[in-house]
Symmetry: D2
Subunit: 249 residues, 4 copies
Amino acid sequence: MNVSSTEGLFAKLAAHNSLDKLNAALDAGEAVLPPSSLYAYAAIDAGFPFVDFTPSTGARLPALEELAIERGVPHAGSDGKTGETLVKTALAPMFLSRNLRVRSWAGLNLLGGGDGLSLSEPNRAAAKLESKARSLDEALGYETDHPVHIDYLEDMGQWKTAWNHISFEGFMGTSMKMQFTWEGCDSALAAPLVIDLARLTSLAHSSGKSGALPELAFFFKDPAGTEEHRLSHQFHQLVTWAGQLTKRA
Amino acid sequence: MNVSSTEGLFAKLAAHNSLDKLNAALDAGEAVLPPSSLYAYAAIDAGFPFVDFTPSTGARLPALEELAIERGVPHAGSDGKTGETLVKTALAPMFLSRNLRVRSWAGLNLLGGGDGLSLSEPNRAAAKLESKARSLDEALGYETDHPVHIDYLEDMGQWKTAWNHISFEGFMGTSMKMQFTWEGCDSALAAPLVIDLARLTSLAHSSGKSGALPELAFFFKDPAGTEEHRLSHQFHQLVTWAGQLTKRA
Amino acid sequence: MNVSSTEGLFAKLAAHNSLDKLNAALDAGEAVLPPSSLYAYAAIDAGFPFVDFTPSTGARLPALEELAIERGVPHAGSDGKTGETLVKTALAPMFLSRNLRVRSWAGLNLLGGGDGLSLSEPNRAAAKLESKARSLDEALGYETDHPVHIDYLEDMGQWKTAWNHISFEGFMGTSMKMQFTWEGCDSALAAPLVIDLARLTSLAHSSGKSGALPELAFFFKDPAGTEEHRLSHQFHQLVTWAGQLTKRA
Amino acid sequence: MNVSSTEGLFAKLAAHNSLDKLNAALDAGEAVLPPSSLYAYAAIDAGFPFVDFTPSTGARLPALEELAIERGVPHAGSDGKTGETLVKTALAPMFLSRNLRVRSWAGLNLLGGGDGLSLSEPNRAAAKLESKARSLDEALGYETDHPVHIDYLEDMGQWKTAWNHISFEGFMGTSMKMQFTWEGCDSALAAPLVIDLARLTSLAHSSGKSGALPELAFFFKDPAGTEEHRLSHQFHQLVTWAGQLTKRA
């Protein structure tokens, strides 16, 4: 379970595209993997499921998917959906189903703690923001203007406050607005997801699943193996899938 | 389509319980129905579908359900879900599926216009507030503290701003908060729903449906014939049902 | 220092208008004073300054003012300005000085604790709301639409959250909005004011002041002896007055 | 009156330090002044007061101050205080006078229109943000964590919405919060200030004033010739000063 700080963006390399190429590069001592992917490699190679709760690269490389299938090991990720994005993916389907076109969706995240400090480095923030941005576009099904900022405020400690401003268009072009603030304790929001992910990947493993688990999309901002971001759809998939695992086990 | 101002609460009477009793009372000249129900009676009796976009009594009486079945006429209601309750029923499933227990959910609605003015009468507001309250309890599956206020502010005109404050409990009892404001133009939010309801009840009628249509719950704060308030479930039901109607027609 | 729960509104009686009449009524065993005023009488009569940190009647009766002057004792009140009204009286002068006319100013206060519980009784809330309403009208210099609600939410504990929605008019009638939320711990906001009031009334007493002290308006929602509600003006008065006291003492 | 788009930051040069050096550099054809300062030079040299409603350099150079004194011409600036900063400088004195220490004050500004577009260029935004930041520090009298962001959202048009999140510390270190949103029409907020500035600088000119006018600080985010940012103090100064001008004229 990778719950370390977010890594900076890591370049895409040819060595990532197949297990053979990756092994050759590693044998040659080339620095082709970021730490999160080295850990993922080690865990999967040793026969353990791997979960990436951060937006770091982790197991999301074709070469590591190959390894996971080969070893019969499941993995899941990326980037735990605990606050602003959780709300976004609960609200976006509302706008969609009522045909209220979202014109812009802007957000500011204020947080302290170690996570906030590490995200005050622009390269690490870039990885996080890319993950956040994708989920809204994919949930809505169209691109919208959606700037997002992250600020480290030391005095916030473990707490995070996000403000979102949504401008949307209704009947006959009427412009309307919604705003929300979310004041959450990141650790208290993440901990139960981490526990459930440990249980569910372990159950998937013992049920013979391997490779990426798209049915765990409910937990992630940027789910591997699926473009489904709508929260209630993800929950329905999770419950259905988990029910079947239980029966089989 | 009843889009008149909200009526005050009307007493429940024995004459409402069957069509025979109701007809007897009406024949005797007794004032046993509020205006919305007289209109509903007239419409249904004349073979036209009836939709109540307000929280008024309308067709929601056993005697009128009997009449609707007899005449082969569908009806739907009550109380168009256009703003605060729309958001509530999109967000409540998020808290439920993440096991974040809602401790309290308080709201203040500010609105002008004719609707705002009529709701500044306490008896009419009571009807509206009862309809609003039920939807949250039923969406969450448990009772929570949820005071709601409505204030008429002349200067708001056709616009409505609602603030909601949600206090919820996470892992190990951690208390967290969410707030939202919704700034909507009531007419622009209601108009497309009214049009869709006209089309859908007409289609249902020509497909041979009669009596209350719970599959139209998506449109209402207090849907007739169902306790399903979760917005995405309502939308799924609507789309499935409408697809089948289309095929049959 | 009266920091007990807010009393309900108490009727105005002829016995309140002079010390003679009051003493006669009390001697006759008539219940002409609420508890807060009995305490105020006792304190002042015994030669001690009295401060009312609540909106209860306390020392604000002509008869008790007479007693205070006679005994050479100062008193101050009413209703500590710790949250929503503090912000209102800081912001209202901004709108005034920029000639931005306030069309409406609506608020909802959510609070728990003993104070919240006692204010869930309508008669006690009425006393509080009257005190809150006056301060805005007097700070703006004109009447505006300003409904205010107080809700007791058990789960808020000692904390209070207030939302205010301000609609104002600018150049050529342009309608604009401001909203704020204030999340404060009532005890932590009140305690230092209570300490400062104890020090300042004691200092005023030893400097020979008696009767109501309008220069302490800075601390109160409904200051005795003045209609000055603008926060920065109140602060300037306080600092000037306190500086003179110190020199004289 | 400079109401053009904000310029990027312009380097400080030796030629700015005296009128002789500036004239020499201009005579030599050197590009030592940004457009706003060239306009200021031309206006002042021709005997007309100059007002900078933007954060651009304008008349704020020692060499141009010298010219203004020489020509007997007053000037004022910089950067019209119309929204977020207006509120900041009304609220900051409230926190100060109640000894509520501000731990952090974060903000996000969303705006469309030509001003928003020009501020989406990082170099121009830098000039604006520097002007915004200074005013809070100087109003509070100490430095606090106060990140500010500006986002251009095309769909906002002439409107601007700002969200501010203030974290402050009360009695015994209790951490509390205030948030506000301001939804204003920039043009409607700026226009009356521009008109008043034209009247007041004209009156000052005819009363014999020359050089920077610190008494007009009320209108600006970054007032020339003073560090007074507290709104009510600025208003008091303005009214006093204008009253004296009128008498003298």
